[in-house]
């Protein structure tokens, strides 16, 4: 049963644009989906290696700017009169570059955090995000600073000569985002259910024991940071090409907080957690808007968050699994348990 749940959910979500025609709600689905991707990437670090990246929005924002700039082109003068001119590239290349550049930044942050864990990791990531935000704000020649990058083209897929498909409509963007959510889910679930994921959990649970069984924990922390940052960059790229305008506010700390809330409420260290938490907290403002004033909306948001954390400290998904008993025996995948029987 549990094996098919992701497929059932995917199928159900695929049907949404067929019966939901309200553009406002479709828009909510798309933006929520983008943040779900970002939250999933945060969960890889927080839920599996146990490291809280409170500057996670940096990777999101770097992805957004990279993708926008690669597809818009730019012309900047570096120190010493050295001029860099970049002609616009196809948008899908911008998407790829966003993943690569964000992943590279994840690598750098991971390496900086060599031997740095817990509170220090939080500080390193926050500082990184602040530095990147200041660069985006002040390097006006490249980023337009507070004036924002505008007229960002929509995402387009295709090859020269074969024609392009442009993601203009809300429906098409819905499917694009759903596709990225599904792909990220597959990547993360394969990683965490492997020897690599076990090494990450070992780092989270007991670092000295992990190294004593021969796990190079730094290597897996860096790997997690790279994959996590790359996926966050992909989310940022989707964001830029959907909204078609970005300014340094994409680096708002509030966005990181939103991701953290999605992960914690849904259940960190579970695959479905960020999706469930993301849907709930993505749609609270939408639902609340229909009957409450803006102040009340935020109060509701806060109350709901506090309620979840108090009632279900592990998050919603682990609670549901316990309730229905669908969660396998703690930590033993069903297949593994069966194999123990075989091996006897």
């Amino acid at each position: 049963m549990k094996r098919f749940l992701p497929w059932i959910a995917l199928l159900a979500l695929t049907s949404v644009p067929m019966w939901l025609k309200d553009p406002y709600l479709l828009n909510a689905f798309v933006t929520t989906g983008i943040f779900i991707v970002a939250a999933m990437s945060l969960n890889l670090l927080l839920g599996y290696t146990g490291q809280l990246s409170l500057g996670h929005v940096a990777f999101f924002g770097i992805g957004a700017y990279t993708s926008a700039l690669v597809s818009l082109g730019f012309d900047v003068e570096l120190v010493g009169g050295f001029r860099v001119i970049h002609e616009p590239w196809p948008v899908w290349l911008g998407f790829i570059m966003a993943i690569l550049v964000s992943g590279l930044c994840g690598y750098i942050v991971g390496k900086l955090s060599f031997r740095v864990r817990g509170a220090y990791f939080v500080i390193v990531t926050i500082s990184f995000a602040e530095v990147v935000r200041l660069v985006a704000l002040n390097w006006v020649e490249l980023t337009q600073g507070p004036l924002a990058l505008t007229s960002i083209p929509p995402m387009a897929l295709g090859l020269p000569g074969l024609g392009y498909f442009e993601f203009f409509s809300k429906q098409s963007n819905f499917y694009l985002v759903l596709g990225v959510v599904a792909l990220s889910y597959v990547i993360i679930s394969r990683l965490v259910n492997s020897r690599i994921g076990r090494a990450m959990v070992a780092l989270k649970e007991n670092e000295s024991l992990a190294v004593s069984v021969g796990i190079d924990v730094t290597r897996y922390l860096v790997l997690a940071a790279v994959v996590s940052a790359g996926i966050a960059g992909a989310a940022g790229s989707l964001y830029a090409h959907y909204l078609k305008i970005i300014d340094p506010d994409v680096f708002l700390f509030l966005y990181t907080v939103t991701m953290v809330i999605m992960v914690i409420s849904g259940g960190k260290g579970t695959l479905a957690g960020p999706i469930v938490g993301g849907l709930i907290f993505g749609f609270i403002p939408v639902v609340a808007r229909s009957f409450a004033a803006p102040e009340i909306q935020w109060i509701l948001y806060g109350l709901f968050m506090i309620l979840i954390v108090f009632v279900l400290p592990q998050g919603i998904v682990p609670a549901i699994e316990k309730w229905f008993g669908v969660g396998e025996e703690p930590g033993v995948p069903g297949a593994a348990a069966a194999k123990i029987q075989d091996a006897r």
């Binding site: 020897r195 007991n206 006897r344």
Partner: protein, 267 residues
Amino acid sequence: MDARSTQAQPALSIEHIAVHFGGLVAISDMSFVVNEGEVVSLIGPNGAGKTTAFNVITGFLRPTQGEVRYRGSSLNNLKPHEVTSLGLARTFQRTSVFQSVSVFENVMIGLHRRGRSRLWDTLLALPRERESERELRARAAEILALVGIERRSRELAGSLAYGDQRLLGVALALAADPSMLLLDEPVSGMNATETARFMHLLDCLRGLGVTILLVEHDMPMVMGVSDRIVVLNYGRIIAEGPPAAIQGNPEVIRAYLGQGAKKRARD
């Protein structure tokens, strides 16, 4: 035993090791060897420096001076996971398991170095990934059976009885496929039956050719399993030799054995 010592091949050699913590001398000028296939015990009163010695050997601490070698290569500048890769695995004095995952997953984590799948195998779910996982699961089941906690494999490690957690700690060390095992007070807190079972496990491991360095306060056990004993007091080696000689050594009796009985009563 005599036959063994005539063809003795040193596996681990500790050469003039000293460890200072600020002004405190935890170990001063310690030298001894452990030969291939031997069971050597390191004993001494609380605070003598036994755990510190383990930490130096396994790369958790840098010695202030001296050198540690295993099968000819120096361990001095290696990180703990690199030391493990050379075939040295340890257990910890304080119970140490991955609390919130199952017993079986614990051993799967411990088998990390045996996994053969690369990042691409995992991401693309290639056959090698599945094959490697299948091998690891079979091996994990074997190790759990060897230490005798296979019936607990689906339970959370943190919910095991104390004695079983200690055994799981040994299973984790064994999962790293060591040629030498360092055990820090493995039977402390175990009852008599569990201790007897553990001694049987030690016999099995010795039969498999694993070299063992043991730290333990349980004297009947130490005397029963050791080929040789090294006695440490205030960071210095005060005696070294076969169990019979150590038992009769007046300095050892004064420094430790008289007091060891007291400690056992307290435990």
